[in-house]
């Protein structure tokens, strides 16, 4: 597989898991092997609202959110590798959400950057999301 294929599969698989998790359609004991184990111990996650979240904060949020949003759906598009430094990859992608109960906009689209280490499995080091341009969001499809 190419680096782009590895990164794309990793991002899509993880977000598919998020959908299953918040829908409550995956076993609860899958949080560690399918998500938390992929995070570096010093991982930083920043959602569009701009808060800095640690791995422990993410775990707490996911524990509380299990099965809490049956209508949540997400789709990943536009995965692009921006930089490769040795085994580090900086990529961007857009994430499209519907039924996002915890967001001001139930249908929303965000642009994300991720710094990953290409290990087996991939290690997530830093993730940041910011709101996508309004015109791109309005032109995109939420039919998924």
């Amino acid at each position: 597989m190419t680096t782009l294929q590895i990164v794309t599969k990793e991002i899509v698989d993880l977000h598919d898991f998020f959908t299953e998790w918040f829908n409550g359609t995956v076993e609860r004991d899958q949080l560690e092997p399918r998500f938390l184990s992929r995070l570096d111990e010093n991982v930083v996650f920043i959602p569009p609202e701009g808060h800095i979240m640690t791995g422990d904060m993410l775990k707490g949020g996911f524990d509380r959110g299990y099965g809490a949003n049956k209508g949540f759906r997400t789709q990943i598009r536009d995965v692009t590798i921006r930089h490769e430094f040795g085994d580090l990859v900086m990529a961007t992608y857009t994430e499209w959400q519907t039924g996002a109960a915890n967001s001001a906009e139930k249908k929303n689209a965000r642009l994300s950057s991720v710094l990953m280490k290409i290990t087996d499995p991939v290690t997530w080091l830093h993730i940041q999301e910011t709101w996508l341009r309004d015109d791109l969001r309005e032109a995109g499809s939420f039919d998924f």
Binding site: V44, G86, L115, T130, D134
Partner: protein, 128 residues
């Protein structure tokens, strides 16, 4: 100097350039393929995009800028810092003073000379 101090110095280079209207000083602190991702704006890549984005701002306002690092992740010659940007823009035509602030993540990579160059500038607006 520690890596934190080196990154602070690299950021100060950018801010000093911005505050003094010296676009080439800003560009000199960047990786050739620097990527900027500002909230609700297009992704840009490359140093010419830095000139295209900031020259109009420099022409339009007297700028002061600051950045406080809240978290630093170091992976060899690659560093990611998460922090807050803040500053003022006094508009030259109206005298209005704007006070932009928000979350800003910066990525730095050492070049062949050992200098830190910014390869990522991504922000979230607002007070978070």
């Amino acid at each position: 100097m520690t890596v934190l101090e080196e990154i602070q110095a690299a950021i100060a280079e950018w801010n000093t350039g911005l505050d003094n209207g010296d676009i080439e000083r800003m560009v000199a602190s960047c990786h050739p393929d620097v990527m900027t991702v500002n909230e609700r704006q297009p992704v840009t890549t490359g140093t010419q995009a830095i000139r295209d984005k900031y020259n109009p701002r420099i022409a339009a306002a007297e700028i002061t800028s600051g950045y406080d690092i809240e978290d630093l992740q170091e992976y060899g010659d690659t560093v990611i810092v998460s922090g807050r940007f803040y500053g003022t823009m006094k508009m030259r035509d109206t005298g209005e003073v704007k006070t932009p602030e928000g979350r800003l993540v910066l990525g730095y990579k050492r070049d062949k000379t050992g200098a830190w160059k910014m390869f990522l500038d991504m922000d979230n607006n607002g007070p978070a």
